[in-house]
């Protein structure tokens, strides 16, 4: 039973299957993600949650099934599973944002340059990109820190830079893979609040892969996977 918000979905996955050798990661998963929705994907290690995230984001292709991104600029749903690698890369640059466990920022670049890079990859001139990056960082409480190197930031600050990078290009879906896995509980709460803030009232959707029930409690919807199948789809506490 789905407990997602009513209305047209942003992202719709149907009957996804994916196997690695003899191991089945996804066994017929269908999931719709709607604007304003924060979905936590939970499950034990090996349950298929990261594979599901990678399929939804077009990082990998499922063996069978489809993933459609609706409401694109051309008003034609993008059938992600039928796009080639270059087209999927372009889609990830323009429509999706990513936050990973360790931030995975480029250590040689400053905080501002890390955020600006996401815009420059889409062809935004550097000066404009750096101005927008500074604004995005300021909105997340990192005003004046755009010139800092990543090694000079705390774990929480680095994760804020990652959030700024994920949303600066106007991404409609934010994917976060264990975004608080390397943080203490207080910083985790700050990071989750910022992630939800970036979704609330913006028309964006958030998909968070986590094994931490505390993180899932922040989300409006909790999808639980086991052995590559959705075994529960419930409303979150935050709803």
């Amino acid at each position: 039973m789905s407990t997602s918000l009513p209305g047209a979905p942003l992202l719709a996955a149907a009957n996804l299957t994916k196997s690695y050798g003899n191991s089945t990661a996804l066994a017929g998963v269908s999931l719709q993600v709607r604007p304003g929705e924060a979905t936590a994907v939970m499950g034990a290690s090996g349950s298929g949650k990261t594979t599901l995230l990678h399929c939804l984001a077009g990082i990998i292709l499922p063996d069978t099934g489809s993933v459609r991104l609706l409401g694109t600029a051309s008003d034609v749903p993008a059938e992600i599973t039928s796009l080639d690698d270059a087209a999927r890369s372009a889609l990830r640059r323009t429509e999706f944002g990513f936050v990973f466990q360790q931030g995975l920022l480029i250590p040689e670049l400053t905080a501002g340059e890390n955020v600006a890079l996401a815009l420059m990859l889409n062809g935004t001139p550097r000066q404009v990109a750096e101005q927008q990056a500074a604004a995005a960082l300021a909105a997340l409480g990192l005003g004046g820190m755009e010139g800092r190197r990543i090694g000079e930031l705390s774990g929480g600050q680095a994760q804020r830079v990652a959030i700024a990078r994920a949303q600066v290009n106007g991404a409609r879906v934010l994917f976060a893979d264990e975004p608080t896995g390397a943080l203490d509980s207080r910083t985790s709460a700050d990071v989750m609040a910022l992630l939800l803030q970036s979704v609330a009232g913006t028309g964006r959707a958030l998909v968070v892969v986590t094994h931490d029930p505390e993180v899932a409690r922040w989300c409006s919807r909790v999808v639980t996977l086991a052995d590559g199948q959705i075994v529960a789809d419930t409303a979150g506490v935050a709803r």
Partner: protein, 453 residues
């Protein structure tokens, strides 16, 4: 008691017993450690092949034994000395790659309670074992390439069978490579702290002071002043000439990191694309390392211009005679030295890049997941190496041309073909380094494709 039992008892009572067992445990056939050891071992194989090839070429000059033959030996020894630095850089790169591949299991050993000393011993043993295996493969490489090198002409005839090394020399070569691996491993371990939680990461960018440029200018002024001072004895003149040569190299080493930094800062300001921004930042993050990577080229290019220009000028002044062989052979020697030097830097750059890609695999994968095209990642890492290579090659050639401007100027005027050939050698060398980097592209591809698999 059997011999094997005696050996086993001796090993057990040795302070190296635990490190030996751990090394075997971590590297025995079938473990992931042994798979990760293939790349460093291959690197040591390249080092050994190049070392033996260059050494064999130099020693082949002992076949003549006359006065001119001795002059050839002297020049070969000089060329060998020039190639020591690039060879050491290459050996150091192979050793660092070897140490990096072990980071993960070394920190795990620390977590399990192994002492820092034990971890150091394991590292040294692994480096020695990998270097030994690689060096043996390198001997094979020397044998495979020998028929081609034997075709090179000196004194009007191909090197032929004189090229073959005495087996003892090959053994010394293998031992030298193993020793190099051990020393580099010990040095690289001093630069990192392997704690139970992993390998220390650095936060600060290296800074290079502008005062290096000031000292360099002072040396140039002193060298030019010395060259313009009339001297009586030929020996003194020779000493002044060698002093100017050494001074020129000192200038390059002083000014190199600073020049690399200034150039990267200029590129950073102008960077309009993600790859240009990344390439400039990677250089600025560690300008001394960027310089170290290519510093050997400065010596090779500097010498190539000095020796090449001198030989080219003399060629125009000589009539028919045995000296014709000498001058032609000097040009051949310069060509071989330039190409060998660039080849070593190309291998070293390739090895460093392979290690970097493996070290940063997760970061590169995350960039790719975010939609950064593979070409952008490739262009950024390539630019970070090629920019200093082109800069250093051009700057070194320019410094030597300025310091010995009467010779180089006259050579360009009177023997432009030879000088163009020399410039061609440097361009080919730069392309060799580019090819070395291109050879690591499959490593990046395999790292990025791990998501798909």
């Amino acid at each position: 008691m059997s011999a094997s039992a005696v050996v086993a008892r001796a090993v057990d009572s040795s302070p190296w017993a635990v490190p030996l067992r751990l090394t075997w445990l971590l590297n025995r056939p079938g473990t992931s450690g042994s798979a990760a050891a293939i790349l460093p071992a291959a690197s040591f194989a390249v080092v050994t092949t190049l070392l033996l090839t260059v050494l064999a070429g130099a020693l082949s000059f002992t076949q003549w034994g006359d006065d001119e033959g001795n002059l050839y030996l002297l020049l070969a020894a000089f060329a060998l000395i020039l190639l020591v630095l690039p060879l050491l850089t290459l050996g150091g790169s192979a050793a660092r790659l070897s140490a990096r591949r072990r980071d993960e299991h070394l920190s795990t050993l620390r977590l399990l309670g192994a002492s820092a000393r034990t971890v150091r011993q394991v590292t040294v043993l692994e480096a020695a074992a990998q270097a030994f295996a690689g060096a043996l493969a390198g001997v094979l490489g020397y044998v495979v390439f020998a028929p081609f090198v034997q075709l090179i002409h000196f004194r009007g005839a191909p090197l032929g069978s004189a090229y073959w090394l005495h087996p003892a020399a090959a053994v010394v070569g293998v031992a030298a490579v193993v020793a190099l691996a051990v020393v580099s491993s010990v040095i690289s371990l001093r630069r990192v702290v392997i704690s139970p939680l992993g390998v220390r990461t650095r936060a600060d960018a290296q800074k290079v002071h502008w005062s290096r440029a000031g000292i360099a200018v002072l040396i140039v002024v002193l060298c030019v002043a010395a060259l313009l001072t009339p001297v009586g004895a030929a020996a003194l003149a020779l000493a002044v000439l060698f002093g100017a040569f050494a001074g020129g190299l000192a200038v390059l080493n002083l000014v190199g990191p600073w020049l690399v930094t200034v150039s990267a800062k200029r590129r950073l300001r102008r960077a309009a694309t993600p790859q240009a921004l990344l390439a400039a930042r990677i250089v600025l993050d560690a300008p001394k390392a960027a310089w170290r990577q290519v510093s050997a080229l400065s010596m090779v290019c500097f010498t190539a211009v000095v020796a090449g220009a001198g030989a080219a000028l003399l060629q125009t002044a000589q009539s028919e005679g045995p000296e014709d062989f000498l001058l032609q052979d000097v040009m051949t020697g310069v060509f071989i030295t330039v190409i060998a030097g660039f080849l070593m830097v190309a291998c070293s750059a390739g090895i460093n890049q392979a290690a970097t890609v493996l070290d940063r695999a997760e970061l590169y994968r995350s960039m790719h997941r975010m939609g950064m095209p593979r070409e952008v990642i490739d262009a950024a890492r390539t630019g970070a190496v090629m920019q200093p290579v082109v800069l250093v090659s051009a700057a070194s050639a320019a410094v030597s041309a300025v310091l010995l401007f009467p010779v180089t100027g006259a050579a360009i005027l009177f023997n432009p073909v030879a000088m163009a050939f020399l410039a061609g050698c440097v361009v080919v060398g730069i392309l060799l380094v580019r090819a070395g980097l291109a050879a690591t592209s499959p490593v990046l591809t395999s790292v990025l494709e791990r998501d798909v698999q």
